[in-house]
Structure formats: C-alpha cells, structure tokens
Amino acid sequence: MMARLARAEMPRLRQMLFVAGAVAALEAVNRLTGVSGSLLVAEIIIMMVFASSLNLLMSFGHMVSFGHAAYFGLGSYGFALAITRFDVPAEAALVFGPLLAGIGGLVFGALCVRLTEIYFAMLTLACAQITYTVLFQWYDFTGGDTGLTGFMTPRFGLSEANFASAAMVLALVCLYVLWRVVHSPLGLAIRSVGQDRYRAEALGLSPRRVQLVAFVISAFFAGVAGTLFAVFHGNAFPDYAGLGFTLDALIMVVLGGLNSFLGGVWGALVYTLLKNFVPLMTAHWELILGLILLAIVLVMPHGLAGGVKRLAGMLGWGALR
C-alpha cells in the first residue's frame, strides 16, 4: 500500500518541480532581459494558452480545427466591445472576452460537430471566415478593418514585466483547468469519442454532445488568450480572427507534438521564439522558418513534447508527460 502510494506521488512531485522550474526560468527571463524580453515572454505565454486550447481538440478529441482563431478573435472583441459599445469597466469587461468566445464556440460548434474529419475541419474554416468577415465589415459596431483602439491603456498600465508575470499566473490557472479536464471523466469521454466514435456510441455516449462540450471548452480558453492579447496591445483587429492566427495555432500544436498535453506549450514557446528571432537574422525568414519546421517534424515525428519525453526517458526522468 505504501509502496503504491509512493509510486503514485512521485511523478506528481516531479511534475510540480518541473512546472516550478519552468515558471522560475520564464520569470527570470522576464525580469532580467528588459522590456523586449518581457514583451516576448508575455507573447509566448498568451500563445501557450491559445495553442493548448486547440491542443485539447486535436490531441484528445482528434478534431482538427482550421478556424481556431475565430475564438481568439471573439475573445479580443468580446472584451473590447464590452468597453467601447457597452461602457463596461475594463476590469469587468475581461469576462466578456472568454464568454463571447464560448458562445461562439457553442453556436459554431453545434454546426461543426454534425460532420466529421475533413468536413468538420472545412466547416470550422467556414465559421472562422464568417467571423472574420463580420469583424472586418461591420464598421458601425466592430470598427471594421481599422479595428478597436484607444479604449484602454495597454496592459492596464502595468509595466511589461509585471504584465508578463500576471499573464503567467492566469496561464497557469488555464493550463491547470485544461489538465484537470483531460484527466477527468469528461477527458476520458473526449478521448473515447476521438479514438472511436462508434465504440463510444455503442457504450452510451452521444458523440456530438461530447464533441460540442470539448469545442466550447476549447473556444473558451482560446477566448481567454484572445482577451489577454487585446489587453496586451490595448486593441482588437479583425486579423486576430484571421487565417494567420489559425495557422500559427495549428503549427504550434503540430510542432509541439500531438497526443501530448504539453504539446501546445512547447510549440508556443519554440514557434514564438523562431518567429521573433529568425527575421532578425535574415530577410528570407519565412524560408528559414519553413526549413526549421521541416527539420523538427522530420527528426521528431511526435513533436517537441515527444522529443522531450524521449530525452527525459534516456535520462531516467520519465515524469514529463
């Protein structure tokens, strides 16, 4: 009994040590590298939440979304519109970002889960394009292509470093909730439907209902990321719901590694770093970025998380799952 308990607690301790180490490292970079370092850390953290929200769908629900930026954008606009159009105080408006994203996820999700696989993916793309177009063209309400600006002091006036720290705390909460979801009965149901919807159905699950729940949770956390992004820059633009952000999220998840909880986290870290530093070194940065991505995918078919896991295994440190 004691031995069993000890074995169950060990990985947990290691996981907590790992998380503490990661936070300490990020915070050190945040505090020691000046304003530009803090801005980069903040962006990485926001992207970690965004990518992890998509990772829930892709790695566990096996649902590939080609339009995840819709919920990122709705997060930004839910927050910005609450302030600009409904005179909600900025602090209180924070909840309207994830809320609008969640509602968007509910409406579009209900449509999308009627189809599966590539048809599901195409429908998510269509829903995202609808979102983008509305944000882009509804000038009276959303500000159209000029977006919403000047409605708040960026970062609520926090210093870059303090904002990055605050974002880190919020991101940790989000990742913890996502972790709990994945390791709960609900997470098991999401994985079940992802792996074999017919078996899940024969056991008594409605696949669509499970997928819709996953979709809404995922959209909600993409909305948290989008809200943070709007606070970060003090603005909201239609591009936040555009194909660029959708692609970024997809690349981060695949790069980070499918079928791994930390896939989105690793992917966001490495991809954001590449995107920020490669352009400084060469004018052909997209080419270089593409080559680097190609190399990583070829060398580590299970993504960065898979590579890290393998490395940890070689070091006899099997807790980094």
Partner: protein, 253 residues
Amino acid sequence: MTQLRSDLILTARGLRKTYGQFVALNDVNFDLRGGEKHALIGPNGAGKSTFISCVAGQLPGVEGAVLFRGRDIGSLRPHQLAHRGIGRTFQISRTFLQMTVLENMTAAYVIAADSWTSLRRRVLARQQDKAANMLRIIGLSQRAHERVLDLPLGERKRLEFGMALAGDPDLLLLDEPTAGMSIKERHHLMDFVAERIDATGKTLLFVEHDIDVVLKIASRVTVMVRGGILVEGTPAEIAANKEVQAVYLGEAH
C-alpha cells in the same frame, strides 16, 4: 441446462432493408426469448450483420418494427439503446486503440454510469475500481497498463466483450466475435462468453461462422439465407436439417 425464461426480450416484425437494388433484409420476423444464447448463421450476404445493425440502431432507412421488452426502439440512436440495456461488439473489433486496457474499461464504466460530464477525480477513481474488477473477471489484469494497440486480437475481442458488459446490458449483440481468430482462440473466447452469459442471466444474440462453436454454445439457432429466415430451432434440429445442410455445405464451405 439453464432454465429458459419465456418472456420475449426482442421482437422484430416485417424488417426490410435495401441497398439500392439489393434487398439485404426481406420481411424478417424474429423473436428472442430472455436467457437464450441465440446464434445467427448463414452464408455471406444472408443479412446477419444487417439484422444486428438494425437492432443496434446503426442503420437508417429500415422498414418494420423492432421491439425491445415490448417497446419500439426503431427510432432510437445507438447511445440511447446502450442506456436501455443493449450492449454490442462489432465485426471488426472496436476499442480505443491508443488508450491502455484499464482506460478503455474505465471509459466504458464512466459512460455506462452516465458520469462523463464530471470533472471529479473521485468519480474517475470509483469507475476505475469497477473497471479493474472487470479486468480481473475477463482475465486482462496483467495487461491493464498496456496500450490496446499492443494487444493480440483475441485479447482485444475479450476486452471489447468486457466493455460491452460494463453497462450491465440485458441483451448482448456480438457480430462475428471470433472473426480472424484461430480455432483454439475461438473456443476459448466463446466458452468464456457463454459462461458469463449463464452466470449473469443475460441474453445473447450472436453471428458466428464456425458451426462447431455454434453447436457447442448456442441454445437456439436461426439460419438466414438471402435476406430472410430459412429456419429456426435447437442446435440439434438445425444440424439435422436437410435444407440447412444444402445451403451451408453448398455455399459456405
């Protein structure tokens, strides 16, 4: 010999299913009594799997009525049927391949208990205990932490059968449970299935090609040919039936 209960658990009336020009089921009437181990046999294309799929709610566009415990279940979706007490396995076994054996079984229990919306670890732990117990019963405890993908076919089938039992169904539908297995494995699995059915008083309807297995396990046998029922009877009656011998020896072997 187990005592046969006389109540009808499943009734099909005038079942008809077509795929374009092809008539897969042609006006099938069928009765299943509680406690039976009923085998569906017949040559390929006879409509056995189609019939199972009709009962399991997997097929659209079926004419006729299916009654389960006297209630029409024709319009119910598979997940609703599961909660009404119908469990099933598939011709090509379906399990969650990337998950461990224990996770598979736990998922089955979580779903059966309808607690899949829960976020609580305690709920998961409770269902996991039940799952571990079922793994002991089906003899897969040693494999609990292995991925299903790494299991041989026979054990996957055994797991799938155990998962179908998780919801404590009254009626089990097994569509070719022994397909692709060696003779030894077939008898091993089906002896076990029969033992579980007898021990729990459930009803079994299964499609099976191995006539030796059928004659050993089944309490009743229905022979299907070209979308209809040719004859129904005890294994002994079926074995002695000249028409069945003609159909079976003529086409299947």
